[in-house]
Symmetry: C2
Subunit: 229 residues, 2 copies
DNA sequence: GGCAAGCAAATTGTATCCGATTGACGGATG
DNA sequence: CATCCGTCAATCGGATACAATTTGCTTGCC
């Protein structure tokens, strides 16, 4: 934590984000400002700034005078996030079918090859790459605003899957990524969107099916709110 | 500024947001933390927290050790925001055609009547209501995540129009709002989207046509970035 | 044995303070 | 006369200090 050309807040923000999406920090886990601060060797001020951003991104939730917690979306919230993701990624496809940049296909195929290289490994790298494919698609539209929103929902989806899905390993079938590329190349927006919907639908459905028997305290915490107003 | 049940940061955030979209704070205007803080009677800490959120929402831009400025989007950025807005609002229409809630039409028509009541007045109220129609549409989807994104881009569009458009008075033709409601009621998603696209397209085009001869320093400030890395 | 009230500890909300970086002004110099 | 460099004021990034609120535990009472 010695020298950064970027601001400390950014660094802490990125680190926490990474920790959350890699499931190092599990949903519902408490994040006291002091603890985080002294862990990274920074003051509470910095941590607090990072928390503001993370809360805005939906990755943590803060309650007045009670502290910050890693977000623990309900099924409803999760469905909402997935719905927005489907909408946004459909829009991305539509735009790409109209104006895919020259180097676009090369970059996409290169990324898919990268994904295939780590296929089967059930680690943080695979999780990250799977998400980054979708973020790369959004970036290729040339619209940074759209790309930021896509990146945000993709991240939240990672968090959601870590709550409700059993394993990350097959979140994004690499084959389907290739299919999406081909569909876009053919210029058939409807077909490409159909594949993407199927691709994302499968992920969302899988999340909805799993009963989170391994996180009893998570379930109870939701019911508990009723008794303690 | 005496008693708030919500946190001070929220209050400052809301106030600044309101000031920006009502053009009280004009794009490019400087926002020193001290000034804002003592103006609202709070410390710089609070202001900085509010700034973090505002920057995330694209309403202000901060430069290291130089302070915060009301966002001054370039034409490219503005086009990107409008594009995302078109995408998101089309998605909203699609969803509403499938599942408009019972009270939805009542609330929409009530809002339109409210808009007609202030028709012709070129004040902050008209600006706010015009945007809130679109935000209300998004909220009726029942998806808060989508609603938040729509609210964000609508706000940014307000800011953009205050930069590039001559007048806010005719941003949202109230008649077109009624047409949109009717199109959704008929269940014809394609038609409704077409109207919405036209509605938003007109606004965007108007913004693109106006040459901002009245803000030379704004133009130069953009070119100036090239010389001063 | 259970419940309510009250006290102590922990944690957040806010303010103030110090150091660092930036931009500007002004004088020295080729 | 233009350019360069040093000093200075302004402002932000970050740390620390204090106040307010919540929480959990203890204690006493029913």
């Amino acid at each position: 934590m010695s020298e950064n050309k970027t601001t400390l807040t950014d660094a802490v923000h990125d680190l926490l984000k990474k920790a959350i999406i890699e499931q190092a920090l599990k949903p519902g886990m408490r994040l006291p400002e002091d603890t985080v601060g002294e862990q990274f060797g920074v003051s509470r001020t910095i941590v607090r700034h990072a928390f503001v951003r993370l809360e805005h991104e939906g990755l943590i939730a803060t309650r007045r005078n009670r502290g910050a917690f890693v977000a623990e979306p309900t099924r409803d919230e999760a469905q909402n996030v997935f719905e927005v993701r489907r909408c946004l990624e459909s829009d991305v496809i539509r735009l790409l079918c109209k104006r895919m940049p020259e180097s676009g296909y090369d970059r996409l195929e290169s990324h898919v090859r990268h994904e295939q290289a780590v296929r089967g490994k059930d680690g943080p790298v695979a999780i990250r790459l799977a998400g980054e494919f979708h973020i790369l698609l959004a970036e290729l539209t040339g619209n940074p605003v759209l790309a930021r929103y896509v990146a945000e929902v993709v991240l939240r989806c990672s968090l959601i899957l870590s709550l409700y899905a059993r394993s990350h390993s097959s979140d994004c079938a690499v084959d389907e990524h290739s299919q999406i590329i081909e569909a876009i190349r053919s210029g058939d927006a409807a077909a490409a969107i159909a594949i993407m919907e199927h691709h994302l639908g499968a992920v969302a459905d899988r999340a909805a099916l799993v009963n989170p028997q391994d996180s009893i305290q998570s379930i109870l915490s939701h019911y508990g709110k009723e008794l303690a107003p």
